[in-house]
C-alpha cells in the first residue's frame, strides 16, 4: 500500500508523536493514580486530568492561530505562552 499521498514531514510527525505521548503519559499517570483527580475549578464544572489536557491542547491551538494571525511567524513564543497556559489550566481549572 502506497502511503506517499499522506506526505509526512518531520515536524508534523513530531507533532503527532507529541499528541500520542501526551495520551500515553495520561494513561501511565492514570495507572499510578486512578480516578483522574476530579475537582471543580474556576470554570465551575467538574474536570478530570483528561479534560484539563483537552482544554490545554485546544487552547494552545487557538493561541498558535492567534499568534500567526495577529503577530506573524515565530511560533516558539506561541509555544511558550501555550506552556504557561497549560500549566495554568492544570493548576486552576
Amino acid at each position: 500500500m502506497d502511503l506517499s499521498w499522506m506526505a509526512w514531514t518531520g515536524p508534523t510527525a513530531l507533532f503527532w508523536l507529541g499528541i500520542v505521548s501526551c495520551l500515553v503519559i495520561m494513561m501511565v499517570w492514570e495507572y499510578f493514580s486512578p480516578g483522574g483527580n476530579p475537582r471543580v475549578g474556576i470554570l465551575r464544572f467538574e474536570t478530570t486530568r483528561g479534560d484539563r489536557l483537552f482544554i490545554s491542547l485546544l487552547g494552545s491551538a487557538f493561541i498558535h492561530l492567534a499568534w500567526l494571525g495577529f503577530i506573524g511567524p515565530g511560533l516558539w513564543w506561541a509555544l511558550g505562552i501555550s506552556f504557561v497556559y497549560a500549566i495554568g489550566v492544570f493548576k486552576t481549572v
Binding site: 500500500m1 502511503l3 499521498w5 494513561m27 483528561g50 483537552f54
Partner: protein, 290 residues
C-alpha cells in the same frame, strides 16, 4: 423546595388571569401545524406537479395541475439503466452503511451504558465530535485514502466513509436506549449461566429492538441524504442517484421534467422508511439522542 415557590407563583398568576383564560376556545390549535405543513408541502407539490408535465408545458404555460398528465418522465428513468442504477447504488451503500454502523455500535453502546473505563467520556466526546465535523474537511483525504486502497467507485467505500458520522450517532442513540434497561436483567442472565455473546443476542438485543429500529432509521436517513462524500468517492459504477441528477443539464438546456421525476423518486424511499418507523421516532427523539 423550589416546587412550593413555583406552586405559589402559579397560583397567584393563575388567579390574576383566570377570567380571560378559561373562556379561550381551543379549537384554533390545529391552525399553526396545518399552516406549517402547508408550507412544507408546497415545494414538494410543485416538484410532483412538474414531474407529470411535458417540458413544453413546463416552459410555456403556468398550470397548477398538469393539463395533459404524462408518465413519460418516469418512463425515461425506469427504462435507462444509467438512471435506475443510481437508485440501486444509493440503496446498496445506504443499507451496507446501516448494517455496519449498527453492528459495531451495539457492543460499544453496551460498554458505554454499563461500564466506566479509562477515558470513556473522552472517547464519547471524540465520537460525537466526528458527527459534528464538516464533511468538506474530509473530502480530499478520503479520496486519497480510498484511492490508496483501490476502493474508489465501490459501494463499500461510500458505506465506510459514511460511518464517520453514522457510527457515533448510532452509539449515541443506542446508549440512550440501553441505559433505560435495568442492570438486574444482565445480572440475572449471567447467574442463569448465559455467556456474554449468548446473553447479548438472545436476551438483550430483543429488549432494545425499538432502539435498534430508531438508530437504523437515522443511519439510513443521514447516509441517504449525504451527497458531498458519496459524489467524491464514486465515478460511474457506484454513483448515487443524487449525483446522477446533475446529468439532466444537457446541451439543449435542462430537462426539467426528468429532473423533477428523479427528485420525486428520491423522496419516496425516505417517505416509506419514515412511515414504518413513525411510532418509534417520537420515542427516539424523546431520549434526546438524535
Amino acid at each position: 423546595m423550589e416546587s412550593t415557590t413555583k406552586e405559589t407563583t402559579l397560583l397567584v398568576e393563575g388567579a390574576l388571569r383566570q377570567t380571560n383564560q378559561m373562556k379561550k376556545p381551543r379549537n384554533f390549535r390545529w391552525f399553526t401545524p396545518s399552516l406549517y405543513i402547508f408550507f412544507l408541502m408546497l415545494p414538494i407539490y410543485w416538484l410532483v406537479n412538474m414531474s407529470f408535465k411535458t417540458n413544453q408545458e413546463i416552459l410555456s404555460k403556468f398550470t397548477l395541475i398538469p393539463e395533459n398528465p404524462t408518465l413519460s418522465n418516469y418512463v425515461v428513468i425506469f427504462s435507462d439503466p444509467s438512471w435506475y442504477n443510481g437508485y440501486i447504488n444509493s440503496i446498496i451503500y445506504v443499507v451496507m452503511n446501516t448494517v455496519i454502523s449498527i453492528s459495531v455500535a451495539l457492543p460499544a453502546a453496551y460498554a458505554f451504558s454499563r461500564y466506566r473505563f479509562l477515558g470513556d467520556k473522552h472517547m464519547f466526546f471524540w465520537l460525537l465530535s466526528n458527527r459534528m465535523a464538516p464533511a468538506a474537511v474530509f473530502v480530499l483525504p478520503f479520496f486519497q485514502l480510498y484511492s490508496s486502497f483501490g476502493l474508489i467507485d465501490t459501494h463499500i467505500a461510500v458505506a465506510l466513509a459514511h460511518c464517520l458520522f453514522n457510527v457515533p450517532l448510532a452509539v449515541w442513540i443506542l446508549e440512550g436506549f440501553m441505559s433505560g434497561i435495568p442492570k438486574e436483567i444482565d445480572e440475572t442472565a449471567y447467574i442463569d449461566g448465559y455467556s456474554f455473546p449468548k446473553f447479548f443476542i438472545k436476551v438483550f438485543t430483543p429488549l432494545i429492538a425499538s432502539g435498534i429500529g430508531v438508530a437504523a432509521f437515522f443511519c439510513f436517513m443521514f447516509s441517504w441524504v449525504e451527497l458531498l462524500i458519496a459524489r467524491t468517492l464514486t465515478t460511474v459504477d457506484a454513483k448515487p442517484i443524487a449525483a446522477i441528477m446533475t446529468r439532466t443539464v444537457g446541451a439543449s438546456g435542462v430537462d426539467w421534467g426528468v429532473l423533477a421525476a428523479a427528485g420525486v423518486l428520491t423522496i419516496i424511499p425516505g417517505a416509506l422508511v419514515i412511515y414504518f418507523v413513525r411510532n418509534y421516532i417520537a420515542k427516539g427523539f424523546a431520549l434526546g439522542r438524535v
